[in-house]
């Protein structure tokens, strides 16, 4: 059964690499109550656990192999255009190893 507290929510946010204001955790706690109510609606469906999950609406049978023809990829300069910080043709970040 769904059981969360503020610490658990902080842990989840940390796993997702962001933080929230304290009041947002309170709002989220209330939303988890709603989630419980929502999930109860799914539980009420007859034979819900007897079927296979539906992952996509219907099967798409496409050839996934394109012609093996060379194309022009983006140049290094183009890729770096959107990088917030770059140096010597590479994306610059804080030191990983001191």
């Amino acid at each position: 059964m769904i059981k969360v507290d503020k610490d658990k929510l902080k842990e989840l946010a940390n796993d997702l690499l962001f933080d929230m204001a304290d009041q947002e955790y309170e709002t989220l706690l209330k939303e988890f109550d709603e989630l419980v109510a929502q999930m109860a609606l799914l539980e009420k469906i007859d034979q819900v656990d007897e079927v296979e999950p539906l992952i996509y609406p219907f099967a798409v049978t496409n050839s996934t192999l394109r012609e093996d023809e060379p194309t022009t990829p983006l140049t290094k300069e183009q890729v770096l255009l959107n990088a917030p910080d770059s140096y010597a043709g590479q994306i610059k970040l804080p030191k990983v190893v001191n």
Binding site: E24, T27, N62
Partner: protein
């Protein structure tokens, strides 16, 4: 003459007759966009649009190309080469795509003229038109700015309803084109899943996402699909199924079997809509359609939103993991690599988006996955099976697109709430099942529009347009714009 209040077809006819040049039309669109007070624009492309219009003016009109010289707007979650694209999120501030989305490439090839980019609910995750980083987008039908236009394709709905352009691109994951179309008196299409390439559309929930768009006539909607549909090797979910000449449809409902789902049509809250809906049903019967009520188990209807919500939060959490400020986006500094990402995501996402990601991430955790994510996918199968069973016996499902006119901003929030389950969320059926689905204006109540919706079998768009055209004729609200009624 106000050229941008014409339909695509009407404007094209004027071009062919030589009565107007693209430059005049584009300048008029830009002038109207500059005066607009709906807060519908993210970025403008005015200089490039004028250049393109001047260039087209020196060429002969392409008589068989209905999109030649037609101005349009683009929802800001489509990649546009050289034009900042933020999906109305601060985390993407400054991001300038290096390529065009496939739909933009196709529209460029047809010589349609993009005028700018429009607002949306942040990352397309919302249905109110109030969660984007520029704040609320207003419904131009309500000068007091109290009623919303809906979302997530809020800005695109607004500019077409205002008669700034004849069409605009949107995207539809739950009802993000079809619901605002209802609130803005527009025709809004979500095609069959895979009918239009999604290459260059920012993914939200790939198993639901579809490129969609707003027009002011069913015919224009068919014109656009004839150009936008088709396989694209850059999107492996795009269908190889043959593309039809959709706008060659013959309007008719003779012998067409139409289902009305009782548990949904019973939820109409607005008396004008009820009268209009019932009148259209009678008229469809008179014109030879077989229209009947069918039942879907209430437990399945009640589960529509929960199923949609759990799957969409889960898929979006994963799809937006690349928004970290490292390779692109509005980076915030930090002393370590992880701090950079954390500070960027903390500052870049709104609180609403973060809460959705947490709910999604929780649903995907190994210990919860069976109870939440997998169970929602199982419910999806049962819902889709039930709908497909209806579509074995009937060609189309005809329903209200919304229970009432656009809600007031003060009465609606994007916070998770179990109220209004079926009536406000039934359009997700078409996303769960990948079906083509079209909203058409039904009536106005105290000056605010409300729409009806028609949904068909996969890849049945041509006959969907044929039947929708008849409904459009019955309702008598073809090509309505604010101030043009």
């Amino acid at each position: 003459m106000d050229y941008n209040t014409l339909t695509i077809k009407e404007l094209h006819d004027l071009y062919v007759k030589g009565e107007v040049k693209p430059l005049e039309v584009v300048e008029q669109a830009i002038a109207k966009a500059k005066k607009d007070t709906s807060n519908a624009l993210e970025a403008t492309m005015y200089e490039a649009a004028i250049e393109m219009a001047k260039k087209l003016g020196k060429e002969p009109v392409e008589v068989d190309n209905l999109l030649w010289g037609i101005p349009y707007f683009i929802k800001d979650n489509f990649s546009t080469k050289g034009v900042e694209t933020t999906a109305s999120s601060n985390i993407l501030k400054g991001y300038v795509p290096l390529y065009d989305a496939e739909v933009i490439t196709r529209l460029n090839r047809s010589k349609a003229i993009p005028i700018g980019k429009t607002t949306l609910d942040e990352l397309a995750m919302g249905g109110s038109g109030m969660s984007g980083h520029l704040g609320r987008t207003f419904n131009p039908y309500d000068p007091s700015h109290r009623h919303m236009i809906g979302g997530s394709s809020a800005g695109s709905a607004s500019v077409v309803a205002s008669g700034i352009v004849p069409f605009a691109l949107g995207s539809d994951t739950g009802d993000s084109v079809r619901k605002p179309a209802s609130y803005a008196g527009l025709v809004g299409l979500k095609p069959t899943w895979g009918r239009i390439s999604r290459h260059g559309l920012f993914p939200f929930t790939p198993s639901f996402d579809a490129v969609g768009y707003f027009t002011r006539s069913v015919y224009d909607s068919a014109v656009l699909l004839s150009v936008l549909a088709g396989h694209d090797e850059k999107d492996f979910t795009s269908s190889t199924k043959e593309v039809e000449h959709y706008h060659d449809y013959i309007p008719s409902v003779k012998g067409v079997k139409i289902a009305l789902i009782k548990g949904i049509s019973d939820t109409i809250a607005n008396s004008s809509l009820r009268t209009s809906y019932e009148k259209s049903i009678e008229e469809l019967k008179k014109r030879g359609a077989i229209v009947e009520y069918v039942e879907i188990k209430q437990e399945l209807l009640n589960a529509l939103f929960s199923t949609y919500f759990v799957i969409s939060c889960s898929e979006s959490t994963s799809n937006n993991a690349n928004l970290d400020g490292i390779k692109f986006g509005a980076r915030k500094n930090g002393s370590t690599y992880t701090d950079v990402i954390k500070n960027t995501r903390t500052a870049g996402f709104s609180a609403l988006i973060k809460r959705r990601f947490i709910l999604g991430s929780y649903s995907l955790k190994q210990e919860n996955q069976e109870l939440l994510f997998r169970r929602a996918q199982k419910a999806r199968r049962l819902i889709v099976d039930a709908i497909n069973q209806v579509l074995v016996d009937y060609d189309f499902i005809y329903l209200p697109a919304a229970p009432d006119v656009a809600p007031l901003f003060d009465k609606k929030s994007d916070n998770l709430n179990i109220a209004h389950l079926v009536e406000d969320n039934h359009l997700v059926i078409a996303n769960l099942a990948g079906l083509p689905s079209l909203t058409i204006p039904a009536c106005l109540d105290k000056g605010l529009p409300i729409g009806v919706n028609l949904t068909g079998r996969p890849f049945s768009e041509k006959s969907l347009f044929a039947v929708a055209h008849v409904i459009e004729e019955i309702n008598g609200l073809r090509n309505i714009t604010v101030g043009g009624l």
